[in-house]
Amino acid sequence: MRRKELGFQMGTGVLGLVLVAIVFAIGAVLAKQSMLSIEKFGLSFWRTEVWDPVSGEFGALPFIWGTLYSSILALLISTPIALGIAVFISELCPARLRQPLVFLTELLAAIPSIVYGLWGIFVLVPAVRALEISLPDALRQLPFFSGPPLGLGMLSAALILAIMVIPFSSSVAREVLKSVPAAQREAAYALGATRFEAIRAALFFARTGIIGAIMLGFGRALGETMAVTMVIGNNPRVSLSLFAPQYTMAAVLANEFTEAADDLYLAALTEIGLVLFIITLIVNSLSRLLIWSMSRTATQVPEPVEPAVDAA
């Protein structure tokens, strides 16, 4: 019996190691394949704005900028909506509506991203263009709204990303809210809290999980490819403007890999993959760190209360 236990432990341990090995293997292969570009450009690859396959000048800055900018914008738009959906479904919604709403949000998550992209081209982009045209001239002077109203560009990309991210964040946030002990809410009501205050308390209790839900959405936004490339305008420029066509790392990989014939070009594209890999790693580590530090303070705060509970 003991031996069986040990075998089980070892077996799952090995499987866990396989996961670690895969992450390292991906990193190693990406680094090896992009060696030519790493040697030629070094760290300047991260801050060069030129992407010229003809003369062999490559820099990743516009793609890094576009990826982070579009993902952060998408997060700003999606977070309040996703939280609103989660709160409504888990706290306020009549029982009869709950299942259909859960089903619908999950359906959004199941739509392939190319379908989002096509919808983006034919519905979202013309709507965004109309919105851009109707913007008053005074606002057009701001750096956020400069440039011609094309429809294609950062705003469309951020909107489509937000729509794609909402089901993920809201599903996880909903589950997290569901796991908040009923005693928490009851305690809040017992103290005379209004419904809003009770929900706020529940949200506060679940905050680490909710941050996790948001970061999950961020991770998805960083790597999203097809829908973004179809609406972002694919122009490697660094710009604050929401109207400007820009580019992301995942999009340039999808677009240029098939026709990249010479070695340096391929190596530079692979290095973009490596950069995306590193940035995703950093973002995930930071969110882990954030959750970890928050859950530590969360367990520290109630401590003085515990003896009192014990005594009772």
Binding site: V125, G233, N235, N255
Partner: protein
Amino acid sequence: MKTVHNSLAVLAGVVLLIGGAAAQKLQMNGAGATFPYPIYSKWFSEYNKQHPDVQINYQPIGSGGGVQQVSKQTVFFGASDMPMNAEQLQAAPGKILHLPTVLGAVVPVYNIPNVTTELKFSGPLLADIFLGKITKWNDAGIAKLNPGVTLPASDITVVHRADGSGTTYIWVDYLAKVSPEWKTKVGVNASVNWPTGVGGRGNEGVASTVKQTPGALGYVELIYALQTKQPYGSVQNMAGEFSKASVESVTAAAAAAAKQMPPDFRVSITNAPGNGVYPISSFTWILLYENAKDKAQARAMVDFMKWALTDGQKFAPDLGYAPLPADVIKLEMAALAKVKTS
């Protein structure tokens, strides 16, 4: 019980049949350009009907991928919309032949509200627009070529391909020939550092962006403009005529080039001289080792190529490609005879 028995016997028979057929069948793998994929898949299936023992598989992974795969010998033949350069040929383990199969054209498509007259362009004009030097539709240069057309004072939105593409290669190859500034500033490749404009993904991405954006000017393959019924302009050729892309004007460009065809067929026919020529035309090539390791495959491939260059050409016009001129076919037949099949 008996029925189970019977069906098992049938199943066994089917398995044997498939196994037996696979043993005799000659399979060849190729990969490369997406542009000729519709006619290649038509050819391979038609040829398979006539020669059931030969099956050709083709993966449309892009010209760059085709060149790479054939150089690494992971596929038997490659296909590309741009000829391999000297460096790439040097790096390949054996001598690679370029065999033109059909011709295609790239056309300027535009969307100007309230303009129904077909617009005329010249090479230098298109280059200046794509360089971002001409930014308004009512520019004097455009007006001069299009007398009588009332052009709006709106911005020109340049739309180009975002993905690396043989279509882009043909387009910028032409721009580089007619504009020295384009040649030095931007250059020629399957994807370039665009001075201006927005990028659409694929022909459909460019076509839909042009369709939706008032004031847009882009470029797509001829077949795409025909299928989507999008207005496209004529382009001034070297003889000074404004030529509209069609099967005839594209074949005329190839015929003009055939007179001085280099022996390895690696020739660009954009901006070809002569009357009735559409200037933004190009061959697309199949890449083949002259001395391949597998002689059985080489024999089958030569037979297939001979068929494609003769009987196969009749499928071209319906699919939006121009057939090769007779002179080029004659030269290619001579080149095919040099492929070592034993």
